[in-house]
């Protein structure tokens, strides 16, 4: 796959004394659905606005499909930008909003055909004569998407595409958006602060913090093998435990137990990540604790989540989160609050955080 479809090279940007982006480098492939994930103030929206041409970077270049677009005006760039607020034109109806970007270069008949096609693609044919104010949030989102897609852009930038929708509509739209993207094969780059949204939409994603890219990989890779403490905490639920070398094994003071790792460590002291769903929870009657990778703790809190039950288990100085899948429909299967249980995990489930 052509990895150089969109190249972001050494991009830096400051507003006054405030450094918003520092030396950003990213390569995005053609037809990739790429997510920029970060909390507010991480610089993700500024990066997207630089791609859209609304901000000029202080240093660096943006190359799209072999063309340097760094200094091009937004109206000269072969890409489109979908705003978080949708920015639909209130003085025009849906038809004219969709046709806005193609009115210049097309005949009336071509405009008709193009608008009909895009409306059909997004199932909004029945809305063409409506005013923007008469549309629901979901409908507005489709019009905003259609207004961009009708221009057949090489790259579509989406600023928090689902943030304005309610929860139920969001998961439905998420699925539609990925299907649409795979169908049209247009490269999508989107910005979000919602890690679930980033995970479910992205082919690859970049985690941003304070104007830097911490990590850039597939959602699976970032979830399973995060490189930094920040990413581990930011994505999903994380049990972070500090361990140090003691004799043959590793020992945690907070838990008071031994860890056995299946690989050698450079440092004698490090943080490890243990995802809550990797921990097996068993009744104390079944078996005894082994000398490593397991402990006996007391259930402090328990919340039933339908397909899972989440337990907070106290051991020595720490509280460990455990997600237990509810295999049985028998409710007695769940452990009650206050019960002592045995938790254990495989050596492969322990992920060492480098820094």
């Amino acid at each position: 796959m052509d990895n150089n479809f969109l190249v972001i090279e050494n991009i830096s940007k400051s507003f006054g004394d405030n450094k918003v982006l520092e030396n950003i480098n990213l390569n995005i492939s053609k037809s990739e659905f790429f997510g920029l994930l970060g909390s507010s103030g991480s610089g993700k929206t500024t990066l997207l606005r630089i791609l859209g041409g609304f901000e000029k970077p202080d240093t660096g270049r943006v190359i799209l499909d072999g063309m340097d677009i760094t200094n091009l005006e937004p109206f000269d760039r072969p890409l489109n930008y979908m705003f978080q607020s949708y920015a639909l034109f209130p003085h025009l109806n849906v038809f004219n909003n969709l046709a806005f970007g193609i009115k210049e270069n097309f005949t009336q008949k071509e405009i008709e055909i193009n608008v009909r096609n895009i409306a059909e693609l997004l199932s909004i044919e029945h809305l063409l004569n409506r005013r923007i104010k008469q549309l629901s949030g979901g409908e507005q989102q489709r019009v905003a998407l259609g207004r961009c897609l009708i221009k057949k852009p090489k790259l579509l930038l989406l600023d928090e595409p689902l943030a304005a929708l309610d929860k139920k509509l969001r998961s439905k739209t998420q699925l539609e958006l990925t299907t649409l993207q795979k169908k049209l094969k247009i490269t999508f780059v989107f910005v979000t602060h919602d890690q679930e949204e980033a995970m479910s939409l992205s082919d690859r994603m970049a985690i941003m913090k304070n104007g830097l890219i911490l990590e850039c990989s597939s959602p699976e890779e970032i979830y399973e093998n995060p490189k930094s403490l920040y990413t581990a905490n930011f994505i999903g639920i994380a049990n972070i435990i500090e361990i140090y070398k003691k004799d043959e094994n590793f020992y945690s003071d907070d838990l008071g137990i031994n860890f056995k790792l299946n690989k050698e460590l450079k440092n004698t002291k490090t943080n490890i990540l243990l995802r809550p769903e990797k921990i097996k929870i068993q009744s104390i009657n079944n078996l005894k604790t082994s000398s490593f990778n397991s402990f006996c703790g007391e259930i402090l809190e328990k919340s039933y989540l339908g397909s899972f039950t989440r337990y907070e288990i106290k051991i020595k100085n720490m509280i460990i989160s455990v997600l237990d899948q509810n295999f049985n429909s028998n409710s007695n299967y769940n452990f009650p609050k206050g019960e002592k249980v045995i938790c254990s995990w495989e050596s492969e489930s322990i992920k060492v955080l480098e820094d």
Binding site: G52, G53, F54, E73, P74, F75, R77, N80, Y81, F83, S85, A87, L88, F89, P90, H91, F100, G101, E104, R131, K133, R147, C148, K151
Partner: protein, 295 residues
């Protein structure tokens, strides 16, 4: 009960004001305009006579008189043209200013707004008089032009229609900027970016997005300038010359110099009708249009 009454009084007090100081005087003017003129005090006859039984003593002579003399119609046309040109220039200068103020950051915006309003703190008469000093033959502007060698003798800047237009644009500009600002303040700047993103350059974005969405502000500001300028008396009187006669001046002369009260009243009443009717029709059409377009 008492509160209800107070509320009613509060809401309707502007209407009392209008009736007392606008509709009653208007009725009096209309009455005078259809009276027969004569020498005396007041210089017109009563419209109801009771000496030999009841008799209505009215005439439309005054209307015939002012509409048959181009002197009067011409001055009204001059005033309309003056108002049109002044409104256009106010819009031309006011729109970019209002847009700039509306889109600048809050601190700069407040400073700029105060600067717009500051002229209102000094007397209107004084400000127009100041222009007289600037523009006169040995005034500051001519002195600068002479010293820079741009002209060899003083230019006649004062007492012509251009000085009048300048004075009016200067005086009425805040009345254009403030309603425009009030409207542009709510403008979603993302719309401009969206338009550019969809391939329209700055000029096309202005005509396709900014201008259509600013129509209510433009209408409000333009009416606020246009209507009073048609009857404007002081600025043409102080800065204008004999090259053009304006409605306000003719009205004043007819009333105070010629002492033709019925004629002056007919002129005033016609002026109001000619001005108000199209504006009312325009407002009705405009509100229908804006409802349809949801602006």
């Amino acid at each position: 009960m008492k509160n209800k009454l107070f509320e009613k009084y509060f809401v309707f007090s502007p209407y009392f004001w209008l009736v007392l100081f606008f509709f009653i005087p208007l009725a009096i003017i209309f009455k005078i305009s259809i009276s027969v003129s004569e020498w005396g005090m007041p210089p017109y006859q009563d419209i109801f006579l009771f000496d030999n039984g009841f008799k209505i003593n009215t005439t439309f002579e005054n209307y015939v008189y002012i509409f048959s003399d181009y002197y009067y119609i011409g001055s009204f046309v001059n005033s309309l043209i003056l108002a049109l040109i002044s409104t256009f220039f106010c819009l031309l200068i006011g729109f970019p200013l209002a847009f700039y103020i509306a889109t600048s950051n809050i601190r700069l915006r407040n400073i700029l707004l105060v600067l717009v309003v500051i002229p209102f703190w000094s007397s209107f008469l004084l400000r127009v008089y100041a222009w007289k000093i600037i523009l006169q033959n040995n005034g500051i502007l001519n002195v600068i032009l002479l010293n820079l060698g741009i002209t060899s003798e003083p230019l006649q800047l004062l007492y012509n229609q251009y000085a009048v237009i300048m004075g009016i644009v200067y005086t009425y500009l805040p009345l254009m900027i403030l309603p425009l600002y009030g409207y542009l303040n709510k403008f979603d700047l993302n719309l401009i970016e969206a338009s550019k993103d969809l391939g329209l350059n700055r000029i096309k974005t202005f005509f396709k997005v900014i201008l259509p969405l600013s129509v209510p502000g433009i209408v409000a500001g333009s009416l606020l300038v246009f209507i009073p300028v048609v009857g404007e008396f002081i600025i043409p009187e102080m800065l204008g010359g004999s090259d053009r006669l304006y409605y306000g001046k003719i009205l004043w002369e007819e009333f105070f110099v010629n002492r033709n009260w019925p004629g002056a009243s007919a002129l005033a009443f016609s002026g109001i009708i000619i001005l108000v009717l199209p504006i009312v029709i325009f407002q009705i059409l405009y509100s229908r249009w804006s409802q349809k377009n949801e602006i």
